[in-house]
């Protein structure tokens, strides 16, 4: 006996959701820190994490995260 049509649809949607969840899990585990720069002419570049600019970018970003954390603590 073939499955009811709505079951097929539900199974398909569940399958997509499972795949998306797995993708997000992999992304969360596998993603490394990055620093991307975009320019007015549409050019984009990724700063090397070990370069002077990369180190300075991550240091400045960490300071901003700290400041934002403090701002949020004060807000709540």
């Amino acid at each position: 006996m073939p499955p009811k049509p709505h079951r097929v649809l539900l199974d398909r949607v569940s399958g997509y959701a499972d795949e998306a969840a797995a993708y997000m899990r992999r992304r969360k585990i596998a993603r490394r820190p990055f620093a991307r720069l975009y320019y007015a002419n549409g050019r984009a570049a990724e700063a090397d994490i070990d370069s002077d600019a990369g180190v300075a970018l991550f240091a400045a970003a960490d300071r901003l995260v700290l400041v934002a954390g403090n701002a949020r603590r004060r807000r709540t």
Partner: protein, 131 residues
């Protein structure tokens, strides 16, 4: 852009733009808006000076990477994501949770700066950017 600080946007309109950004972005932890000189027009929390200092450091670091000034900066780390955008002589800096949607965040930031810069455009002010 020598007179960016004295031209509109006022602190009030910058605060409104910041409120817009905060409302539009559920992942946002905090943000600041700076003028072309690097002076803070509005910032989350009470420590505007800390925002200004950190934002200027980020933009300086971005400009270290290339002779051309970066228009957008996106840094992702374990502790969160940082966005910076230069638009029409203004700068928006935002800190979000990890995995915030970058395109949406930058769209909202651009929209906030565009709205903020509009009165200045209508007044015929120049929109250069120093920071």
């Amino acid at each position: 852009m020598a007179d960016a600080a004295t031209a509109t946007p006022t602190d009030g309109s910058a605060a409104a733009a910041l409120a817009f950004l905060t409302e539009m972005s559920p992942d946002l932890r905090g943000a600041a808006i700076l003028d072309g000189e690097g002076a803070v027009l509005a910032a989350s929390g009470e420590d505007a000076a800390a925002w200004g200092e950190a934002a200027r450091a980020l933009l300086a670091a971005a400009d270290l990477a290339d002779p051309e000034p970066a228009e957008q900066v996106h840094v992702g780390s374990e502790s969160g994501e940082v966005f910076a955008l230069r638009h029409e002589g203004l700068v928006a800096v935002a800190v979000t949770e990890r995995f915030a949607l970058a395109s949406l965040m930058l769209f909202d930031m651009r929209q906030a700066l565009r709205d903020l810069a509009q009165p200045r455009r209508e007044d015929g002010e120049e929109g250069g950017g120093g920071v």
